[in-house]
Every structure is written in structure tokens, then in C-alpha cells.
Point group: C2
Chain length 211, copies 2
């Protein structure tokens, strides 16, 4: 199995590395994808939104057919939706992949690549209305959404939950359980102060603090 992780300038670091870690654990210890790599349009280092500098493993021209593709979000998506080479790569690979996953505003790249027309999808809470204005997608306010071979996640850290749900779907709950234990992903449920009460927050979060 080949699993490609898309790089582009000003992507959000945790969108990418949360899933990378979970998928990497699966591949390294639990018979998951043996070939996980970072793929970018070109080979020079990619500078992320918070300044991390990553070296791609392959460029678009060298990239083999992918079984799975993950597209992170971040402020860079605002310009990358107009990058024809990147959109063409996502469209071509995405139409042949067994599954395409996006985190946060990565959903806007899937949209431009024609992969989510009419589908149930989500994105970062602050971009839900912007996704709705596109019109021909069904926007839902969940943390992780599967619709056929398209998986989308809410903002930034939600990519970790996405990756575990995806592993459970492909390889079973036992494998997801082992990855969860290995990465010690038993997160604190602490809600700091009151920012989460912002009325723009998504339905899954409102359910969480009203229950």
C-alpha cells in the first residue's frame, strides 16, 4: 500500500503530522501501508504555516499511483486552490485512490479537484459557512465524516481522530486500538475557559458541552 501526504506552502503543521504519526504507527508496527511519503509539486523544502521546513520525498512527476492520499489544510489552501498543477494531481490521484482524506480546509482543495460534489463533508469550524457558499456539497458539523471513499475532518487536531477512524475502517478496531495505545492517544477532555462557547462552534462541540 502507498500512502501519500500532500505538501504545499503554508499548510498547517498538525493537520499533516497528526495523521502522519497514526498512519506511520500502523505501517511500522501493525501491517499498515509500507510506503508512506510526503509529495509536493517540486522538491525544494516546503515552509508550513507556523514555519516548519519539510523536505518532500517525491515530487508530482515521481509519485507512483497512490492507494491513499491525505490533503492537509491551512492558510496555504487559499492560494493552492488556484494552483492548476496541484489541483490536477489531486484530481488524477484522487479518482484512482481507494480513499482520499482531508483535514481542516484541505476540503477546499478536494472541492476544486471535483472530488466532493454532492457529498457530505466538513472543515474547520471557522470555514463552515465559506464551504456552504460553494453550494453543491452537503456540509455537516461533525469531527470526522466518511462519505464513500472520501473522508473529511474538522480543524487541525481533528486529523488524529480521522486517522484512527480510517484505520479502524480499513484494518479493524483491534488495529486502531493498538495504534491508539502506541501513540498514547487518550487525550484530556479539559475545556479551557470559555472560547468553546463561541456561537460559531460546530454542532459536535455544542452537543459535547450541552450533554
Amino acid at each position: 500500500m502507498t500512502f501519500g501526504f500532500l505538501l504545499f506552502p503554508r499548510l498547517e503543521e498538525l493537520d499533516l503530522i497528526g495523521p502522519w504519526e497514526m498512519i506511520g504507527f500502523w505501517g511500522k508496527y501493525f501491517q499498515g501501508p509500507q510506503r508512506c511519503f510526503m509529495v509536493a509539486e517540486k522538491m525544494p523544502p516546503v515552509i508550513c504555516a507556523k514555519g516548519l521546513s519539510i523536505n518532500p520525498h517525491v515530487d508530482f512527476s515521481q509519485c507512483p499511483p497512490l492507494d491513499y492520499l491525505l490533503v492537509p489544510g491551512g492558510e496555504g489552501t487559499r492560494t493552492e486552490v488556484n494552483n492548476e498543477a496541484l489541483i490536477r494531481f489531486v484530481a488524477e490521484q484522487g479518482n484512482c485512490c481507494k480513499a482520499v482524506l482531508s483535514v481542516c480546509t484541505g476540503t477546499f482543495i478536494l472541492y476544486r479537484a471535483g472530488l466532493i460534489l454532492g457529498k457530505r463533508v466538513t472543515t474547520h469550524w471557522a470555514s463552515l459557512d465559506r464551504l456552504r457558499t460553494l453550494g453543491d456539497v452537503e456540509v455537516v458539523e461533525e469531527r470526522v465524516v466518511q462519505n464513500g471513499h472520501i473522508w473529511t475532518a474538522a480543524g487541525v487536531s481533528a486529523g488524529i481522530d480521522l486517522a484512527l477512524a480510517f484505520i479502524a475502517d480499513v484494518a479493524g478496531e483491534k488495529t486502531a486500538s493498538n495504534v491508539q495505545l502506541g501513540s498514547e492517544y487518550y487525550p484530556s477532555d479539559k475545556l479551557y475557559s470559555s472560547a468553546y462557547k463561541n456561537e460559531m462552534t460546530p454542532q459536535y462541540l455544542k452537543r459535547m458541552y450541552h450533554s
Copy 2:
């Protein structure tokens, strides 16, 4: 404020990038550290445990005095505890920093640097016994542990919880709340299958599933 993130070969990716994302949000939007960078012994790319290739921003010789230092864990710690240049760097900076934070087996690097003698600390669940055998530290089975200016976290993903707790301590709950909202860190509480019932799991986790 300067915040350094230590790089070394075969560090665990999420140990590093979980805190990097949270501290980066704080710095970029909420008056947190203005200078966050990756610091390594030398400037060539650092290859992490799951294959991510990162370019350092500075090497040890160029690194300014740090206000804060984060040390990730990973399989690379097994050899780095014997890297004199790295241990000297951590000792010298760590003794002058306002706070030193470690994630997962990064605790063993703090130990070798002489920063945690007699202190309450933690590490990845699978390394708790190995940490206990060192003898002159008090090992506790919590997800995040503060002891004076030393902060340690449990395995891999616990670095995210560590970073938010640290931000709340330094800048207040309101700021931590804003970072939590921005990164949409309202993680799922789903426990997959039964791996978490492993008898080696830490006390904080046993409390979680017995309650």
C-alpha cells in the same frame, strides 16, 4: 520570548509537532513567543522515526539563549542520551530557561542532562519502568506533570495536552482557551477495542476507564 524545539535523528514526529502547533498558535495570534524555531546539533536535515525530513532553523552554535526548550522523545533518545554535545546543550540551556518541557521518552534526555534529579516526572507508558530503574526521580503515571520549571508528558500525543497546560500556566486560561479553539482541539473520547486494558497502561488511563 524564544522557544526552541530540539531536533535529533529518529525523534517521534507528533511528540514535536503537537506542541509546535499549539505554541505556534499562541505565538502567531495570542501574544505568545515571537521566536519559535527548530534547533539541532548540525544543519543538515533531520530524519524522524517515521521518516519525516525536517530542516533545522539553527544549530547549537547559533542558538540564542532560550526562554523555553521542548525536548521530544522517540527511539532516537536511546542513542542521543550518549551524545555529549546534545546533552551539554540541553544542560546549559535548561539551567537558564524559564521552563523545560519534554514529551514521551524525551524525559530520559532531561535526566541525562541533570535537570530532573529528585523531581516528579513521567514518560511513555511502555518506558515507565525503565525510568523508575534510574532511581533518583519520582515517576508518576499522569498525562502531564509540572514540577517547578520542569514539565513532562506521557507518550507521543500527550505533548498537545502538555502544551495547552503550559500555555494556561504562563499566559492564563483565556489564552489556552483561544489556542484550543483555533486548533479545534476537542478530541474524540473514543476508546477503540481493548488495547487500552493492557495492564501496563498508566494510572491516569486506568482511572479513565474505571470511572
